[in-house]
Amino acid sequence: MTTTASPPGGRALPGPAEVAAGEGAATSDRARTGGGPGVTGVRSSRAGELRVVGQALARLDQAEKVAGTTRYAGDFALPGMAHARLVRSPLPSARITRRDASKALALPGALCVLFGEDVPHNTVWVDVPGQTVEVAALKASMEVLATSRVRFHGEPVALVVAESEDVLAEACELVEIDYEELPGVFDPEAALAPGAPEVHDGGNLLGEWRIDRGDCDAAFAGAAVVVEGTYETQLVDHAYLEPEAGVGWLDDHGVLTLRVATQVVEHYRDVARILGLPESRVRVLAPFVGGGFGGKEDMTVEPYVALAVLQTRRPVRMVWSRGESLLARPKRHPVRLAYRTAADREGNILAQEIEILADSGAYAYLSALVLLYSSVHACGPYRVANVRLRARCAYTNNPPTSAFRGFGGMQVVLGYESQMDRVADALGLSRVALRKRNSLSRGDALPVGQVLETEVALAATLDAALAAAGPKPAPSGPGRAVGRGIASNLQSYGRLVWLNDSAAAWVGFQLDGSVTLRCGVPDIGGGQASSLAQIAAEVLGVSMEHITVHFGDSSLTPLAGTTTATRQLLMSGNATYGACSALRDLLLAGVAAELGEPVEGLRLEPGAVVGDGVRVPLAEALVACRRQSVPIEALGTFYGPKGRPVTRDLDATRIFPDFTFGSHVCDLEVDLETGQVVLLRYVAAHDVGRAINPRSVEGQIKGAVAQGLGMALLEEVVVEEGVNLTGGLFQYLVPTATDLPEIEAVVLESGEGMGPFGARGIGEPPIGPPLAAVASALEEATGVRPTTLPFTPERVLACVAASAPARGARP
């Protein structure tokens, strides 16, 4: 009936999006098991059936970005616009004893000062309304503006609005807030000890997950080798180049409109709840975002801009300084990992015993879910029959932690991959062979119980990465040592299956044959909107330039959910695919009716509907649809796979839609006298299912690797007794062009993903392995494995010193 482009290998997609678009629902057990004819595993070349998808085209958004004309959130201004800023707590734990705005308000040009009592509903919700269920006891909520108690350095206490930035700066200084310092707790272990100061009433344990699968005790008792390791990750910041920003105003219908840098336009619901407005009266626009990485997943400026607009009835802009961004926006969880791993003589992993403790900082945010990701991913891409895991996260008076690319799936890579190296070394086996031997396969179950339904190409990614890396380089001189590290990982794409995830897209032909695509997806720099256009161009037979994508508008574009969790290609991609397929079918139906021919004989080719001896140019086909009262627009809604919510003791048939697998190789050189590390070369190979735009995929891989390498070697938000000492980018060490090596991305395509054309998500997965790959390489160069991040020159030197007697012992 249709001319759906088939993926290479001849295996037609079952077309989940078409099902969704046509029938309004998708099933969770889509027919992906069993492979089917023509599945050849991994290919690195693309077959010729696809016309647009698979091409390394320039992205739609990049022309304006390189021209310098893109209007980011902070670039926007309106007549009569006022300016807003937050007054934040200078202390990590204190009672607020007095607040006085009178001096600030006396300043000419100061417009208002708001405290928590002025906020209609002074609570920030931490879930996505309408989608999530309670997954762990969230005992504490967070005030929009703290009224009586502050729990971290930087917590907002007052909102100041003024005519100009100059006045604002002075007014903020004139707001008087007195504090009485309270005892705080700054370490998650200390926070869970009896008698620790309670960050919130009810104790400091925020979330806990357990896995108990198989018989661990028996497995350890019968093991040929047991290796233990503890690992510690640090507090890191997203450090996107664009600090948090937004402009708000009341439009002509009294709709409160916020144009903000965000990954989630659905926060309009949170804003409405805070302000006591109907959800229909709040609109969030997401312009192109200057980097997100999870840091713009929780609300940042939204409630404050909204409050300021309502109070002043004027347009208001709020832009956080870099210092505020580093101080107060939630960061990545510092995690302590303790692993015990058992293996038999052949190198089969028999059991894992894992303890995870994460620092959630002062407020819950998404901590419980981040910890769940850590738990689910904790054994890596390996078959492990016996697993005992306990994961906990605790409140402290440190900066809050929440979403950051990898979302808890990242930190554990350092743990499980270091353990794999150690097991291989203990048994005298090849590290690569050990990974291949234990690799998960289609049909295997993860320790939480989920059975993998798609191809697992882990071994192929290992081979591809090593082949691309070539021989290990020689040291550049005396006193230097070169090390090579490898690391593999898995990372989920798509949201937790009980979150009822959905995304919608609307696509319509204009009468001139151009295409309008509307989708609520926020474009945070990964080319989200452009990828949708590339999918639409493929299905509808038009060129990319003839497609205009309207995105990220909570009122005027169909809601597509968050640009997080590596979900947009899966969700909005499938929704767009479904909408375009439906539109194509409408077009064919219109032409069939016009010609009085059966629709089965028609297909859409670029620029024309074509059948046996028939060729109707697109413009005429569109007119035919009008005459035949056939719509030339379609809405596609894609529903993610569903499953039951988990309980604390994790045991589920499905937790995530699917996973992406990859392997990395890192070559580095250590100056054995100074501990300085030079990254020589880095290769990252991932099975992405299908590359919609290979260059965009490479961009995601390289960027994620860069961020991972920064965390491995350089970055840390330094906090002492709750006081954040990292006030600027001169202190927060984002890697520069000379800190990073040439990063090579190897893109493998199994055609096995759940996204359109068999694509898998790739936004988050490549950030996982660098921590472990660098640790592994440093171990080879110095003789001792570093386990505490970041691997500073000082810590590298400690490895050198510790290994001095045994240098060169490892083959």
Partner: protein
């Protein structure tokens, strides 16, 4: 259907203000008035721009708020990240830590000034575009300006040299490789090679092929 009325301001800590909804009043409120303004004239991307603005404004604020040139970005305010980089009389500076008043009369080139005639992408922009050197795009204007200063030397550079030239511009999306690719491609572009045979060129000459002889 009557819309729900908006809640009234919830506090007395607010000054009475006029309705400033866009469209609700014909005349926008006047720009900040009062002390410490100065009239400066800079040539920005080829056009003389004369504005009265705060004396203590950085060049970045002057460009963005007074002149409406928003392609240079505020990324840190410390001169570290390079998002605010512009060329002043052909040399790259961090416009967030230069006072506008210090460069009165200067010629300023921002990334948008590297466009070709009629707003078409300039040579460097074109290579950035084709090779995905921009992802989120927030560092891109500063990267382009830094790249322009490098390419204007007329010499072809090794990848290591290009990386060295970029080390003062942070990018959080690309890992830098695609940016290096784009600069390498621009330096090798036959259109550029033709004009740089004699050595360094005016930055303007690398903007667009339309400006090349």
């Amino acid at each position: 259907m009557t819309p729900t009325p908006l809640p009234e301001p919830a506090t007395d800590r607010v000054r009475p203000a006029d309705d400033h909804r866009p469209g609700a009043d014909a005349t926008p409120s006047p720009p900040r008035t009062g002390s410490n303004e100065v009239v400066l004239t800079l040539t920005v991307n080829g056009e003389a721009v004369r504005r009265s603005y705060a004396t203590h404004a950085s060049l970045l604020d002057w460009l963005r708020e007074a002149a409406g040139v928003t392609d240079p970005k505020l990324g840190c305010g410390e001169g570290v990240c390079g998002a605010c980089a512009v060329l002043v009389d052909g040399e790259p500076v961090s416009s967030c830590i230069v006072l506008a008043v210090q460069v009165d009369g200067a010629t300023v080139t921002t990334a948008s000034g590297l466009a070709g005639p009629g707003g078409a992408l300039g040579l460097l922009q074109r290579h950035f575009h084709e090779l995905h050197a921009a992802q989120c795009g927030f560092c891109t204007p500063g990267m382009l300006v830094t790249a322009a200063a490098l390419v204007a030397s007329g010499r072809r550079h090794s990848r290591a040299e290009i990386r060295h030239a970029l080390h003062g511009n942070l990018c959080r999306c690309t890992g830098y490789g695609p940016i290096v690719d784009a600069i390498e491609a621009a330096e090798a572009d036959p259109l550029l090679r033709r004009v740089v045979e004699g050595g360094a060129v005016e930055v303007a000459a690398i903007a667009g092929e339309g400006r090349l002889p």
